[in-house]
């Protein structure tokens, strides 16, 4: 055909382009993870990887399962809404196997003031204690931390 008489170089170029395109598809197929695009323009397995990370805070339900007695005391006092791990720290290791990790006893003199030290910046209706209130005596001498009102059982 006369039209393609001098078009040999075009076909060679098109062939080269096709080979390069196929190579691109091959490489792309190899390097793009299978789950990419499962939910959108990202690796779907990334969601599962993040969801599989270990938990450090066991959650309030786990504590209450065994320590129902403490939970009962707590529910009657002002600290009813405070979860165990808010003061005792992350204890998933303890709930997984109570033998391996025993939560340390807390130093109430340092712990309580974290929330209750008097400061004008705190909400006005929130119970706050002035620095001279306790005179160096540990809070638990008078206040049972799980139910802190003095007349609600007081010292343990």
């Amino acid at each position: 055909m006369r039209v393609f008489k001098d078009a040999g170089h075009l076909f060679r170029f098109a062939g080269l382009f096709l080979v390069a395109f196929l190579l691109f598809l091959l490489v792309r197929g190899r390097v793009v993870p299978k789950s990419f695009g499962e939910y959108g323009h990202y690796r779907g397995n990334a969601i599962r990887d993040i969801a599989a990370l270990p938990v450090r805070f066991a959650g309030h339900q786990a504590c209450a399962t065994c320590h129902a007695d403490v939970e009962e005391v707590k529910q009657k006092g002002k600290h009813a809404g405070v979860n165990c791990e808010a003061c005792h720290g992350p204890l998933a290791k303890h709930t997984d196997d109570p033998g391996t990790l025993t939560p340390p006893k807390l130093d109430t003199a340092a712990l309580c003031v974290r929330c209750h030290a008097a400061s004008a910046a705190r909400p006005r209706n929130f119970p706050q204690i002035a620095e001279d209130h306790f005179g160096g005596v540990a809070c638990e001498t008078c206040h049972q931390p799980h139910s802190p009102a003095v007349d609600a059982g007081g010292a343990q």
């Binding site: 690796r43 969801a51 805070f57 720290g89 992350p90 974290r114 400061s119 004008a120 909400p123």
Partner: protein, 244 residues
């Protein structure tokens, strides 16, 4: 269209059966987590925050956040008469160890503002990522695929809330995951778990029984920088106009 008596009689029992299922409602607690059934958000009740820093410590313990970096932090605002527009904001070590006590005679108002990733529905940070390493999940959580991230920090600059940082050891972007590994297991986030006053509440906007719906109806709630239309999903109750 008219319905004949014959057709009505045929349809009645079918309608009765259908109505029974409507009354029964959806089955309780599906055994498997379904992404399509959730749309996570958080509620922050500013008048309840006492600035104890429990959330910051809990977040660092739960997520191995390196020292000096924060996925959540607490700011203390001091708005005085002379400085209504540019208040004094402090956040010593992210508020991790609390804040210096404020004497009563100081002028102006003080309050605490806990901050974290807003898990925006139309987030600028996910839009600028050149490699598809950050994204919003079908259940509304903005996450980072750290095996894909190049560490280019475009997203760090794009976040209008300053919620992202480059991890000093991994050299990739890092941020709040809304404790995705916890909420998909039926737990609440570490910050909400350890908040003593309930100032932080995890909320599921797709769950009709979530107390957030009642709360949003009965309180003055705002998101941060609403003018940016990021679709932020961290709702602040009683947010002061000076908060940036």
């Amino acid at each position: 269209m008219t319905i004949s008596r014959r057709h009505l009689l045929i349809m009645l029992p079918a309608a009765a059966v259908a109505w029974k299922y409507v009354l029964a409602g959806t089955p309780e607690s599906a055994p498997n987590y379904r992404k399509s059934e959730h749309w996570w958000s958080m509620l922050i009740d500013i008048p309840e925050c006492i600035g104890c820093g429990n959330c910051v410590r809990a977040c660092q313990a739960e997520n191995d956040v390196p020292d000096g970096f924060f996925r959540t932090w607490v700011e203390m605002y001091h708005v005085s008469d002379e400085n209504m527009v540019n208040p004094v904001v402090i956040s010593p070590d992210g508020g991790k160890e609390g804040f210096p006590a404020v004497a009563k005679e100081d002028e102006g108002k003080y309050f605490f503002v806990p901050k974290l990733c807003n898990h925006c529905a139309d987030s600028p940070c996910t839009q600028v990522c050149p490699v598809g390493a950050t994204f919003i999940t079908p259940d509304g959580v903005v996450l980072i695929d750290q095996t894909y991230c190049l560490g280019c920090a475009y997203c760090v600059q794009a976040c209008p809330y300053g919620c992202r940082y480059i991890h000093p050891e991994k050299k990739v972007a890092d941020k709040c995951t809304l404790c995705y590994h916890r909420i998909t297991k039926g737990l609440t986030t570490a910050c909400c778990e350890s908040c003593p006053t309930g100032a932080r509440q995890l909320a599921d906007l797709k769950n009709p029984n979530d107390p957030i719906h009642e709360f949003l109806k009965t309180h003055s709630v705002q998101v941060l920088k609403p003018q940016l239309a990021t679709g932020a999903k961290v709702f602040y109750n009683a947010l002061d106009g000076s908060v940036r």
